[in-house]
């Protein structure tokens, strides 16, 4: 029976992710516009964009290879798989045993590499700029992420996201300095990974400041739709990751009856809402930094994460 429940939860979760991703992006844009005193596009605008792109026939460069047309699908698939593994409203979904943080990180890397290759495929300068810078950001983000994972695995005795969320949800571990430091690092990583201000500007149209946008410059039609959708999904994945790790409240524990899901869902919506409000505020408050300042930005994240681990060692309080 519980198998069926878990499977149901998994399916609902995937559906939720697919639905929520564009909405989240739309919300952020709306809030940012409002903060800037504009009315801004309607919240459903991302949906419309996707639909419009899906209706358009893509134009490929003459020398584009199958890598170019295949990459968006790979990226979206990998991101979707990652999204399926990050719990939203309930723990103990079918995918829970798979939801290893390293695996999720790996899946996101897979998506990034696919797009990086795609950026190189047509052989234009902007694609190269985008790919190389994207890979560089990853080079600095990965150690920070791994150190955060280190902290969590020390606390929960496992790198399985479900187990970690469960352990934190029970509150047995209480409130810890390490977690705070880890949260800061995690936020910085999330900003970098999703190409938000100050690392990158998702809405820019000035080529030289573009990273992610430059990488996918050649794309159009359904390919672009997939890429956009993947980006939105990725943002939700990260928000969900932060939510279920650092704000582990109101999520339905494993094996809980389906009735607990409602609360979990509400909690999730609340957490995501708060996070994206914060993100919007942050993005409006701050300016984009030069590309070569990003390593410093992420380096600080690494330091915070390192501090988090060392604090754990000093306090000796890990499983």
């Amino acid at each position: 029976m519980s198998v069926v429940v878990a499977l149901l939860a998994q399916l609902l979760h995937i559906g939720l992710m697919l639905l929520a991703a564009p909405l989240v992006v739309g919300l952020i844009r709306k809030v940012k516009a409002r903060l800037l005193g504009r009315i801004g596009p309607p919240i459903l605008q991302p949906w419309r964009d996707l639909a419009r792109l899906a209706r358009k026939q893509p134009v490929l460069a003459e020398n584009a290879s199958w890598v170019f047309s295949g990459a968006p699908a790979v990226a979206f698939t990998a991101t979707l798989a990652a999204a399926a593994l990050v719990p939203s409203f309930a723990l103990g979904m079918t995918g829970a045993p798979l939801a290893d943080l390293l695996v999720i990180a790996g899946l996101l890397t897979l998506a990034r590499c696919a797009l990086g290759l795609a950026g190189m495929d047509v052989g234009t300068a902007f694609g190269g700029i985008g790919s190389s810078r994207e890979m560089m950001f990853a080079v600095f983000a990965e150690p920070a992420l791994l150190l955060v994972i280190f902290t969590l695995s020390l606390l929960a005795g496992s790198t399985n996201l479900d187990a970690i969320a469960g352990a934190l949800h029970d509150g047995a571990l209480g409130l810890r300095v390490s977690l705070g430091l880890g949260l800061i690092a995690m936020l910085a990583i999330a900003i970098a990974e999703n190409g938000r201000i100050p690392v990158d500007n998702p809405a820019t149209h000035l080529e030289l400041t573009m990273v992610h946008e430059a990488m996918v410059l050649e794309y159009s039609g359904r390919h672009l739709a997939l890429i956009e959708a993947a980006a939105m999904l990725k943002l939700v994945v990260w928000l969900g990751l932060i939510a279920c790790i650092f704000v582990p409240f109101a999520i339905a524990p494993a094996g809980a009856p389906a009735t607990a899901w409602g609360l979990g869902l509400l909690g999730w919506v609340g957490k995501i809402g708060l996070l994206l409000l914060g993100l919007a505020g942050f993005e409006t408050a701050i300016a984009k930094m030069r590309v070569f300042r990003v390593p410093e930005f992420l380096g600080i994240a690494v330091l915070f994460a390192l501090l988090a681990v060392v604090f754990l060692f000093v306090s000796q309080g890990f499983a």
Partner: protein, 674 residues
Amino acid sequence: MIALLLPALAVVVTLLLALGLASVAAGPGRQGRLASRGSLLLCALGGLLAVVQLLSGAEASSLSLGIGLPGLPLHLALDGLSAAFMLLLMLTGAAAAAAALDDHGQYDSTAPFFPVFLGGMALTLLAADGFALVLGFEVMSLASFALVLTNHRDAEVRAAALLYIGMAGLGAMCLIPCMALLAVGADFTFAAMRTHPPEGWRALAVLVLVLVGAGSKAGLAPLHVWLPPAHAAAPGHVSALMSGAMTKIALYVLIRVLFDLCGPAQPMGWGAPLVLLGALGAVLGGLRANMEGDVKTVLASSTVEHIGLIAIGLGFALAARAADLPGLATLAFGGALLHALAHGMFKALLFLAAGATQHAAGTRRLDRLGGLIHGMPKTTALVLVGAAGLAALPPSAGFAGEWTLFQAVLAAPRLGGLGWQVLACVAAALMALAAALAASAAVRLIGVAYLGRPRTPRAAAATDPGQPMLAALAGLAGASLLVGLFPGAALRLLGPAVQQAVGTGVVGHVGWLTISPQADTAGYTAPALAVVLGLAGGLVYFIVRRWTVSGERRGPAWDCGFGDPPNWLPFGDPVTQYGGASFAQPLRRALATSLMQARETVDMPLPGETRPAHMKVRLRDPADQYLFALIGSWRSRVSHFADFMQFLTIRSTLAVMFCALLILMAAVAALEQL
């Protein structure tokens, strides 16, 4: 039947060595084919025997031969450890031999050394006494030295070979004393060594010697400097074998000495140098892989990186065994072994592909390749499989190995002691850095060399290699996919080796499908992940087919509205695409300026000038600069002194003689006064 495995393998080794002579007898022109075909056959046979040995529980058997040192027979033995590495060796060997069949006669001159190379490695694995081990190791070095020199008309090749053989000599001169230190009296069989593990300064000396002797061969930093040039200089199938198998053989020697011969009673600290050097090498190799401008050098640098990762695993395994944490030890060692296997597969694949690419496009330089995917679609597809392993993307073999290694490092704080804990988290961060660097290097390699637009006519005209090479590539790709999809099964197959090295089997952690850090917790289930990816892929496919218009149109690249390339450039304007150096620029600015003293000198002509702009980049491997250059300068200083001693005038020479006499006399007089 099991008892016959060792003799059978010994016969295989003998035949491999004999095959070298036979192919010499066959004479130029025919020796290449004979050597390759024979090696292929023998490697297949040997791999089969190794698998049987592993599946049969791998109880050790031994054998002694009539030849060897005067009056001392040569001892051979086969156990789990040697069988595991034998399997790896024979797989890569078979692939390399198959690829060598597609050689267009250019490897013919040194072909006889190929089976000898394989034989030397196999002998190292079967060795059961110090002499046999060093003998096999040196035969391996010498044969590979000859193979590296295949294109000896090229001065760079000669320089690389010289550095290589020098390091080989150093390795021998460290391994021989190492074996002598381990020997019990005049008896240097492994059986005797196990009964008397070294203690005190002897143990320390053994550790240092084996780290230098075997580590230099494995490409462990900071003695990795020889590796990139040598691998680049060798023909493709040889560098595949060197990188895929030979470095692992060196690791085998390291394991054999540190885990097996030195016994379990060694202090925890023994793991630390391996971890530190491994982390150093991982980062340095990964960074270099992003900086180098030559396909094979890139691959070789990434070999340095992966060897570093494996060394980290070995170090933690050693420490955990000393701290009596069997679970951690098993995990770390299993991870190291799994990653060694995975790396052997995909790195051999990539080197073979690099060889094919060089043959097809006439160059190894990234900045003269490009767009090969159009001319060599099959090769590119297979290279992508290998590169996925290089970048450790799930569910590739590389990811399985690194996942296990990461799990081991994450569990390492259980070793206790702030030192080890900090070491663990620093190692983890550096491993993550290295992994990300590897991913970036993989994207750079594929993106610049195989994607984009061809930068030279030759690159535009490149075509897929012949059937044997493609078969070899496909075989390796298939093997690495298998390892990636069923790491648990692979690790169980290698189980006897783990059992033998750290004393506890892998069964507690490793199911046929799942690898778990501890027996009870959730782990990494590669097949399930593959299923999830498949389902997601299916979903995407469905969405795309259902809700989007099909078909596509072709047009000129948008490129932000830049104009069409000038029509006097036949392949568009390849210079405007990102090349190797330009892709490396962000990392160069961010990391290499400090770690590798990267210096850029840009020569930008003024507006209106017609001369081209130039950018020169200077990079130096710190190990090269601070270790090897120093040693070289000292060597020449001493040589000058020796020369001075030799070319004195006759009178001065007499004076030297006179002084020697007087000193000896004075010494005798003094000694007698005492």
